[in-house]
Amino acid sequence: MNAINTGDTAWMITASALVLVMTPALGLFYAGFVRSKNVLNTFMMSAAALGVATVVWAVLGYSLAFSAGNDFIGGLHNVFLNDVGFTPRDGQTIPQLVFFVFQATFVIVTAALISGAVVERMRFGAFILFMILWILGVYAVLAHWVWGGGWLADGGVLDFAGGVPVEMASGFSAFAAALVVGARKDFGRQAFLPHNALYILLGAGLLWFGWIGFNGGSGFSVGNPGVLAVTNTLLTPAFTLVTWFILDFIRGRKVTAVGAATAIVVGCVGITPAAGYISPTWAMVLGVLAAIPSYLVIVWRARTRLDETLDVLAAHGMAGLTGIVFIGLAAQESWNGIANGLFYGNASLLGWQVIAALVAPAYAFTMTFVLLKLVGRLMPLRVSAHEEAVGLDIVEHGEEAYATGEGAILMIDHESLVEQPTGVR
């Protein structure tokens, strides 16, 4: 068993904090895209993940993903954090408790990501029930496949920071969720504009900030993989951003701000699976390449009847898939110490990366479809057309994001008012 390394532990605690801030950042990013009557509900779907996903993860999810089990799913040994303490896991130098916290921040942000497909019409309660089932049935399973000793890991699939359980899983689950929940009531008839593009930009910036911990922490140490991942997490999104500028300019003769925010996310997603496996030079190339499929899917989606509202499939599904496959081409043993890709004479890695890029989306899509149909049997998935028109902030939460306060009358239950002590105003 390895000894605890304090430097590694300090960095992993910091990285966990960085990843934790990505969820409110995502809430801000998403809230900027929706109409002002749905801002709080949109943010609350992310905020809900902070609570619900952590609870589900601590109680059962962590064990299903990371305790010893079979090729498909982990066991029940770590249920309720049983036996998760200060001792490191095999091959690690940080307390398992820190590993648990770091992984919890991943499942939180991933569960929140899917909400982008269904904002502005899905019922809050139905989304939460779906989130619980999704974490156990999709995230924990896929995390086990690539990180917990499952069959993809056995085959040799490389996934540094979550191309499989985070990016492709959320992207293709979002696709299925949009199909099951259905489009917003005036979709295709009326244009829906982002109510505050500044929130989108600020959210994207904060996401990039957090992503330094997301990828940089996925080496679980301050060693070379972590250093390489931090470097690549700066390089790839920057190259994607510049590529996006060019694509925007060619298409519309203008460089757009919402496009720039999207590009940052796409670049961060693209490098996520590959961050610790490819050289900085290839990370720059990936930045350019990752922009293209996501850009095409965004343009294509806007012309269809598919109301995958905030383009989770394009930004996360497609960019994650690009990154996973790219590892098979550009992985370099001299940088990662593990394996070479096709460009360096090893074709078998590419084969396994392609398998992961086919199987993970298929599994996430199918399971999400089934789970949402199941939730739909138990309760309505969406609010009524009238409630959708009024807005989900008032309907679901009884609050407004931009309340004026004019005409608001205090409701005071006079009997419950506590008498003020004399002399105190």
Binding site: D186, V390, I394, G398, E400, A403, L410, M411
Partner: protein, 119 residues
């Protein structure tokens, strides 16, 4: 000439625009207003403070039309804005003394007739 003022639910504003467009009513202004018209008050809670929202958000349409066009306009407003519940809003039709189109200096009847429309 008349000024038709319609106060409608904000969530029906797009339907009203669509029905006005179908009725060939061009030239209008809208503004967001708050008002009260006997509808049930909404209750909201902020950190333990519960408030009754006495004023509801509404959208106010202002449309200046020739006398012949008043009924068409009013019908279109009603068609677009009605849900059948209290709070659907009201329409006021008031006389207009004078209208000037700023660009051309055209006055009155000519100024409320959309460009290119048959007199």
């Amino acid at each position: 000439m008349k000024l038709v003022i319609g106060i409608v639910r904000p969530e029906k504003a797009n339907d009203v625009l669509a029905s006005l467009y179908r009725a060939d009513v061009r030239g209008l202004s809208i503004s967001r207003v708050q008002g009260h018209g006997g509808e049930t008050e909404r209750v909201e809670t902020y950190r333990g403070t519960t408030v009754k929202m006495g004023l509801a958000e509404k959208v106010r349409f202002e449309i200046a039309v020739s006398d012949d066009f008043v009924d068409t306009t009013v019908d279109a407003l009603v068609e677009g804005a009605r849900t059948g519940d209290v709070g659907d809003g009201k329409i006021f039709v008031v006389p207009l003394e004078r209208v000037v189109r700023i660009r051309s200096g055209e006055a009155d009847q000519a100024a409320v007739t959309p460009q290119g429309a048959a007199q």
